[in-house]
């Protein structure tokens, strides 16, 4: 469903991604790990279509479409969801209003009927249950004054509501305590299906104790330098990143 070929990306003329190749099939969970500054977040935002990043070469096919041709909102409609590392605050916009507008806007763009008020309520209730979120968060302004855990939970709620084909979690685990981490993991596990894939971007492997990935890739210096199964994550946990860096530097990445 997602096929990235020789992807090179620059920010202000500095090359950040230096030739990424990655294939993800429906239903798979891929973890992308790596030391700070390796380009993990860049990859997330390039997939979402952030125009601060310039794609200098390569291609991304998503679900039969040329992803690079699509605008940010078109990619969302096509089924890409990015859970932000730092969710954005929008003062004065109630969380519930945002959720409803988002859901119906995407439904219409996907050729579905809008949900009426009662249907929407029922729909959102189910999703809220899924992420074990407190209802009081719905009335507050979007992400404004939310704790770190509340923000991430809210990202999971949005992801559940938009029913994406590919969910990208950009360091969602950073700054979360163990309870919040479990709730995030739980949401992903419940949303996991044969059609839905995930990319879990993380620095630490602790999230992967709760979300078991099919593949683990290590990103270093703008390239995927090692791929494996979940045992690779455990190895990284035990040994750190230095041995990977040394291996990669030795072959001149």
């Amino acid at each position: 469903m997602l096929s990235i070929k020789d992807l090179k990306v620059s920010v202000e003329d500095k090359e950040i991604l230096k030739g990424i190749n990655l294939d993800i099939k429906p239903g798979e969970i891929h973890a992308i790990m790596g030391p700070n500054g390796s380009g993990k977040s860049t990859l997330s935002h390039v997939l979402a279509g952030n125009d601060n990043y310039e794609v200098t070469s390569g291609s991304i096919q998503f679900d039969g479409q040329d992803l690079l041709e699509l605008e940010v909102d078109e990619r969302a409609v096509a089924g890409i969801f990015l859970a932000f590392q730092y969710p954005i605050e929008i003062p004065g916009v109630s969380n519930s209003n945002f959720l409803k507008s988002m859901v119906n806007s995407v439904r219409v763009s996907r050729g579905l009927e809008e949900l009426n008020a009662m249907e929407m309520l029922k729909f959102l209730k189910e999703k809220i249950k899924l992420v074990e979120m407190d209802n009081s968060l719905l009335k507050r302004s979007l992400n404004e004054g939310f704790s770190g855990g509340e923000k991430k939970r809210n990202e999971m709620l949005q992801m559940a509501a938009l029913e994406p084909k590919l969910g990208i979690l950009d360091e969602t685990d950073s700054g979360l305590d163990i309870d919040a981490l479990k709730i995030v993991a739980n949401a992903v596990n419940k949303l996991r299906s044969e059609e839905r894939s995930f990319i879990i971007v993380t620095h630490y492997q602790r999230l992967l104790d709760y979300i078991v990935p099919d593949y683990v890739h290590v990103l270093y210096n703008g390239k995927i330098v090692k791929s494996g199964d979940k045992s690779l994550a455990l190895e990284l946990e035990a040994r750190g990143y230095d041995w990977i860096k040394e291996e990669a530097d030795a072959v001149g990445v």
């Binding site: 279509g49 605008e71 932000f84 806007s105 009662m118 959102l124 209730k125 302004s141």
Partner: protein, 493 residues
Amino acid sequence: MENITNEVTEELSESMQILEDQTNSDYKYGFTSDVEMEEFPMGLSEDIVRKISAKKNEPEFLLEYRLKAYRHWLTLEEPQWPNVDYPPVNYQDLIYYAAPKQKPKLNSLDEADPELIKTFEKLGIPLNEQKVLAGVVAVDAVFDSVSVKTTFKETLSKLGIIFGSFSDAVQNHPELVKQYMGTVVPYTDNYFAALNAAVFSDGSFTYIPKGVQCPMELSTYFRINAANTGQFERTLIIAEEGSKVSYLEGCTAPMRDENQLHAAVVELVAKKDATIKYSTVQNWYPGDKEGKGGIYNFVTKRGICEGDNSTITWTQVETGSAVTWKYPSCILKGDNSVGEFYSVAVTNNFQQADTGTKMIHLGKNTKSTIISKGISAGRSHNSYRGLVKVGKNATNAQNFSQCDSLLMGDKCGAHTFPYLEVENNTARVEHEATTSKIGEDQLYYCKQRGLSEEDSINMIVNGYCKEVFNELPMEFAVEAQKLLAISLEGSVG
């Protein structure tokens, strides 16, 4: 969960409706009506002033008042201090009186000129009695210079409320007009107030007797139709002791290449324990994308909290006009009186707005709140100008001012001119001001959730204005959100 239901339902239908209306983006009030008009010749003179007065069969005191105002106006210069720039107005090129020739009788709509009815239908004014009866709004519509029809008059008159055109009030309640007109905004106040006092043709008059809570929103729509016509309406609202009223003013005008002048005067008088809430949704024609045409909106609005414990609240959503010059103000004379000003001013393309308020604290323990949200897009300029004045005897006066500016794009300007005069050292005055650009990260976030760029902007801007929209009656808040969406269409990207 259950108690969220209503909120969720309401907000949903609201936002969806706004999205739908988005597609309808040009200035939708830009039609003219072919109603046969009776107009005076162009130009201004003592003779024209006399003619207007005679035409309206006015009592002697009013003619005298007009003439004094006119003579005073001749001695004045057009003010240059506002932060706006426009070619000089030639006051001899304007028509000072225009009225639909076939003046409709007030008892039935059937007798009205069908073209006029069509105009009101296009404007979406619920003039149809049945429609109005279903709602809670009483409407007085001022078409060019003459008030056409007042609905719900009877219901209101049972409570002793007088609500109708200014001309009717002059004929039927001259003593009230004589007692209050010009007491809050004297004709000597400024250039445009003097001009208005000399040539005003109609407007709206409201009187709420002692102890009466007006049971419905009172609403006036102003529309300029004829070419080269100035519209000079006067509004006077008197709220007697312990009474309460909420009043809404809406404004539209056709699209014309030449600029049209609008110089209104609004006076509010709140007695002891009285509350007046005055809300405006101003959508005069702003001119085209190149800055051609549009309304010059030079308005003097002022209320006096005359009695103790009285409250005056101004809420305005200003999206129209080529040039706006307007400072709805409160004189807080009664002890413990409260003045509030909530404003959203949007400028796009070549629009210019210089707007704000004056809060004059005279009584003890008086309190004022100013919340101003400016939004500038295109090549427009948006200025907040506000005065907070605390007099010698205003012990424990309190003011809180918050002035926020939002910039969209890099060719527009936002300016803030706060003035502070404090003569009593027990006063507490707070001022907060922010200027921000519409956040790229906010836009990106909304778009990543599948909202289009336009919808994302509307969502962010509406959130920014929420404190002000919350002050508007529900249906007008929805209208205001739609207007905002239309005004800002195409302003980013």
